[in-house]
Symmetry: C2
DNA sequence: CTGAAAGCGCTTACAG
DNA sequence: CTGAAAGCGCTTACAG
């Protein structure tokens, strides 16, 4: 557009000072007299001057933007309400800290590392937020190796003492959920966990197992399912579970959307919720409230996770902080899908 | 980090050529001999050279990034599934066209214009995607005035021949929805439309009115409500509608989330859906399928809207195109909330 | 087909 | 408190 608009040089000339001086009032250097400062500010206003962010970035070797890496394909991502929520927290924190957000747009699966490398090598960003944590995460590996500032939503599998991360206590959350199911009288509890590659999945499975052990319930690995975060997965496993010879009486599911798939399967097959099978899931999306059977669900507080991830990152960029960890509390919302059974019922 | 890493100069020296030549192979200029090109490529690889995007931007006066402006507060935005969906389309198209996405993070309401001005004046972006269209939209106004490349998701209220935009035919969609309600035997149709400031709201209201007229139903402005896109709004108007002396027998609602609020109100007050009041809404979110009463809903194809908005924008940037319009088809999904009534019923 | 030079718009030691 | 100068890493007419 109107290029060659007004530059620092124009302002300088008009004021009869050097560009250096103008630059200093821009960056609020205290070494400029109040008089000149005000005169320059006035002229900047008059001329409609606005500092060029690109030029500034180049000179200062700092971009003022952070890269946010959406896991896997952006297509899948936005189906899960977790990510929009987390983005909400991220944008909010970014607005506060005055960083811009460069959104990764990896079109293909497993291009994350490439996107990250591109962001870094072409120096488009000062730091990176990783929105998920896998078991052998090459992105985490890479970022640690080159010691580039980043923060992680989730818990790293390795290098935990070197990476800034924010997470819920997923072990405890799954543990509590399992306890809750036992408390309402359930004995045989299945689990549909998420992607095996995610550390989150492992944490939740561990919490589940611990509760099973402590309550002297039997752990049966045939009752533990893993898969992706979509309705289909839930529907598929729901059908399998409903048709088991020894049907479980409860199931913990790693996400509401998946849970809906299971609910659909149960309804289709005449399995009553919560009477025959109770359901408890994660993410507390709007859907969990408005489902035909409202679902007990863990609110992981995705907004806070996102918000804190940016705070951590800024600390990493500005103060070179590494290995800090923030735990965001979760809340279990009890709903009809795990309602306590009446004494007398057919 | 590893600053002063490897630059174009390093590559040039190592090759015994000038930086100009290296620059030319980077930008794939055809004027460089195949031999030198290959030699230089090899050295770039050997040295791990990667062009600095910032420097390139400054020199070329082009950033290679597009700014995406989320309407109002980012907090509200992510509650509505429309936006994540649209973002999905946007990131997908951006990945294809090789543009980066700078996400607006306006923390306060009505800071959109400021964010836009900041993006443009500090030359952080080559173009802008506006995700919603208001009646007297100062952002559209501004962008037209300075003739900055942008595209709009929605229909502009004015300057329509000058702005690139992509939208559904909202008039027709609301018209069809109203017809559908009449077809299932409804006579007195209310509407909970969205924010009065949105052109979308006006289009939908117009389609609704037209259908009312054509069918010789009575238009009653007391049956037309406007408000924001949240459950509360739906719940509030749902209660009001349920308590009207002459209760309507159907209601069109501008968004599933709002519709859920109304459903809740109706259920609480013993109003049967669809028997007493049928409900048809917009956006076809996952929720509309899994609600206690599945909702008839219009799929606006938000992903396509987002995708096309980027295509339009790139055309605006590269070829200076203005005033192009794309219409994205919608689909009405009929569900239980507008099921045809049985003949004999109490 | 290639190079020397100027320039993109800012910042920042260094010197005074 | 202020300025001259060099530099950030690239691009691009211009000239050959």
């Amino acid at each position: 557009m109107k290029k060659g608009s007004v530059t620092i040089k124009d302002v300088a000339e008009r004021c009869g000072v050097s560009p250096s001086t103008v630059s200093r009032v821009i960056s609020k250097s205290p070494r400029i007299s109040k008089a000149t400062t005000e005169r320059i500010l006035a002229v900047m206003d008059e001329l409609g001057y606005y500092p060029n962010a690109i030029a500034r970035s180049l000179a200062r070797n700092k971009t003022g933007t952070i890269g946010v890496i959406m896991p896997t394909t952006s297509e899948e991502v936005f189906l899960n309400p977790f990510f929009p929520e987390a983005m909400r927290g991220i944008t909010k924190a970014a607005a506060k800290t005055d960083y811009d957000i460069l959104l990764s747009s990896n079109s293909e699966k497993d291009e994350e590392l490439k996107v990250i490398q591109n962001f870094i090598r072409s120096s488009k960003v000062d730091g990176i937020v990783l929105m998920s944590s896998k078991l052998n995460d090459e992105c985490i590996e890479y970022l640690c190796e080159i010691n580039f500032p980043f923060s992680l939503i989730g818990t790293p599998h390795v290098h935990s003492e070197r990476v800034n991360h924010v997470d819920n206590d997923n072990i405890m959350a799954a543990y509590e959920l399992t306890q809750h199911l036992r408390d309402i009288g359930k004995k045989k509890i299945a689990m549909i966990a998420g992607d095996e590659q995610l550390t989150m999945t492992h944490d939740r499975v561990n919490g589940y197992k611990r509760a099973i052990d402590e309550n002297n319930l039997v752990f049966n690995k045939d009752l533990l399912f893993t898969g992706s975060f979509d309705e289909e997965t839930g529907n598929k496993y729901g059908k399998i579970i409903a048709k088991l010879d020894e049907q479980p009486d409860a199931v913990i599911i790693t996400d509401d959307l998946v849970a809906f798939g299971a609910v659909r399967a149960f309804e289709d097959l005449g399995v009553r919720i919560p009477d025959d099978i109770a359901i408890a899931s994660f993410n507390n999306s709007v859907l969990s409230r408005y489902s035909s059977i409202p679902l007990t669900s863990v609110d992981v507080n995705a907004v806070s996770l996102g918000y804190s991830s940016v705070e951590l990152l800024v600390d990493a960029i500005d103060n070179n902080v590494r290995g800090r960890k923030i735990v965001v509390p979760y809340t279990i919302h009890r709903r009809k899908s795990t309602e306590i059974l009446m004494e007398s019922r057919g």
